[in-house]
Symmetry: C2
């Protein structure tokens, strides 16, 4: 792998821990883990389905729709105020523990986020996690009104950074996002935090790590 | 709901029972139900992801890739011959018990299939189930090289049948397919066989039944 000239990070699941909403879920269910996993799966499905239908709605609306589906599916009783608190958790997600130190080590090169998140959601999460000073660009799919893994999304990285995709390292914990970025020509690192199985989509990562702080030593 | 002038059926899960592959799965796992459910979920995900990536491969290849992912994820040991037998099960799927009698009652109007399946897979399933004589058209996404819920797929129905989408009843057991067809202007019946939860995609069925033989009495 050629030394990258810039790093482009996925946000949710890669820098920010989406399952940190589990705590907020305890208020309405004794199985907050199931709530969190179902919500996340459905959130992704709705991005894919809406993008394919040509019916884009921003990630806040998709996330809320996925939450409403999830509470109905799991037969959870929740007030609007309780659902509101779960949604608010998305505005103050925790970064994974090693993130700040890793970005500190990589910051000699341009660092960016490329995410499904709406601009408002990303701004809030970047602010609450304190990652703002490290990031040259925070790129949202909202610019192109579709979702990953559409090539239109991955094209935002080269456009903003002024580099070919093949000269940047795209980093994601989501195996399908790894395949999408690779199909769009990036060098790709899969941060396989949860011992997941690589997807069978015809594309493989150039590098696999378990935590982001393993990246600097592997370049 | 206006009386429909034609019926367009989804194939897998609606006419044909994809979980009838469970029997073939017993050869390689003690939890064939988990195999079947994971395989089906991943098969659908790969259609959505490949369509969004602009990397269409036909449904046979997607189904095989999903099977390979599933056995790795579930840590199942299987030979190529055993995987081959699971794939072959897709060529001789069982129709749900009420299907033939229902098509018999509806056959005064044009009946069609509109499916993700490849032409070869659909031909085999239609033949093995004996549904051929009832069907005026068997329409495959392979014509347009993308997958449901892309509007390009749903447009195949009006084109083949020479009727506007709004004058036909599209029937599917897949809630996301119901939303996709509704977004493309069809009247839509959701055959909710498994007490599933309707998706939150902004579209609702015009009619909901639990089995196909409830349709004639509800028109």
């Amino acid at each position: 792998m050629a030394p990258p000239k810039a790093f482009v990070f996925d946000a949710y699941g890669t820098l920010f821990d989406v399952h940190s909403v589990v705590e907020a879920g305890r208020e309405i269910t004794q199985e907050p883990q199931t709530l969190s996993l179902t919500w996340r799966q459905k959130q992704l499905e709705y991005t894919w389905l809406r993008a394919l239908m040509g019916r884009y709605e921003d990630f806040w609306k998709v996330t809320e729709a996925a939450l409403r589906f999830t509470v109905r599916r799991l037969a959870i009783t929740a007030t609007e105020a309780q659902l509101g608190r779960l949604m608010e958790a998305y505005l103050s997600l925790a970064a994974f523990p090693e993130v700040t130190a890793t970005l500190e080590r990589l910051k000699g090169l341009p660092l960016a986020i490329l995410s499904n998140g709406s601009p408002r959601m990303l701004e809030a999460a970047v602010h609450s996690s304190g990652l703002g000073p490290y990031l040259r660009h925070v790129l949202s799919v909202d610019t192109v009104k579709t979702y990953k893994p559409s090539p239109a999304v991955y094209a935002l990285g080269p456009k903003a950074l002024g580099l070919p995709a093949g000269e940047m390292l795209f980093v994601s914990s989501n195996a399908w996002d790894v395949a999408g970025a690779k199909a769009s020509g990036y060098q790709v690192c899969w941060c396989n935090r949860a011992n997941a199985t690589m997807e069978e989509l015809g594309f493989r990562p150039d590098l696999t790590v378990e935590r982001l702080d393993q990246i600097p030593g592997r370049l």
